[in-house]
Subunit: 187 residues, 2 copies
Amino acid sequence: MGLVSKIQTLTGLSPEAVSWLNNALETFSFKKNELVLKEGKVCQYLYYINKGMAYGYYHLQDHEVCNWIARENDFATSYYSFISQQPSYEIIACFEDCSVQAISYAQLNEMYRLFPESERAGRLILEEYYSRLEERLISIQFKSAKERYLTLLKNRPEIIQRAPLGRIASYLGMKQETLSRIRAEKE
Amino acid sequence: MGLVSKIQTLTGLSPEAVSWLNNALETFSFKKNELVLKEGKVCQYLYYINKGMAYGYYHLQDHEVCNWIARENDFATSYYSFISQQPSYEIIACFEDCSVQAISYAQLNEMYRLFPESERAGRLILEEYYSRLEERLISIQFKSAKERYLTLLKNRPEIIQRAPLGRIASYLGMKQETLSRIRAEKE
DNA sequence: TTCATTTTTTGATTTAGGTCAAATGCCTCC
DNA sequence: GGAGGCATTTGACCTAAATCAAAAAATGAA
């Protein structure tokens, strides 16, 4: 399922909008460990992952904090930088070779202008981002390390399988020693 | 400073938009401890506080979790419910007698339709909400209870002065016993 | 003013998860 | 295929903040 069909599942788009969008989309490939977005650059694209796994992280003091992990059929962008077109403190990189579709900020706004019904899709994507963040806050604040791990294992097992442990731990808000122990105790 | 001037500081609005907006705004008064939004209701308004202090909280298991605290010249709404027009799990209530301006969801969208330049203001307000949430996540995840308290004391001292300790503690993600001890140790 | 209720403080104890350090496993690339 | 470098596991110990419990202070209604 590509970006266009994903948007179709969110809201109906006219055939004209679909065709315009297909034309506006770009595709990119990234190698394993390649940087999709460097720190301090403005994020120009909203990405949609066709193949591979990518993640967003930022520097905090001396260590790196993983903010999100995305796999096939997930949107991926430095939300804040893309929306505000300000330099990004978030870095986007790839766990695996990735192939992605992408729409630029300018083209996205052009789409809104040309096809006002597409605003709804844009809004729904942003809402999704906001909800994810809210859920993460609640999870970090009120759930134990073990509960967080089990929730991720249940909801997104492919992350547990395909991402390195240290990054998963950081994403879950714990030390990798802790995650290692949790994982050990359960079998 | 009312809602209209606040928006003017975010982005320019045409005199027509300003006049239309002034007409579209409603004003409400709420008594201390009155509920502005009940759990399960759709949040119909984006509020702007002219006088008083309000807060948003939700039920989690047996206790209440404070999500935000707003004072004069802050926007206040159940973000998720307002944006998606879904029933709200968040409850809005008042610490003090409040007088607020409010724009309804329908009128806000009408404004976007009539005055496309106002979209920018809307987007900026939502970005602000998103950033606040991100900051809170970082603060809960990486700062100690004491650091969180000191940051709030520095950035928004009026909250420390005017809101009850239990709610502040909940907002800061700690138990009120902890907040009480932190407060005691510093003088 | 007094009594009742709520809010805040103080004290003793427990615990989840962090920290530091070392050992083991496992890629990958000359 | 062996050496060096990562990633992961394991162990011992420590600490911030939660929990449980009770006292003290503040608030407000009659």
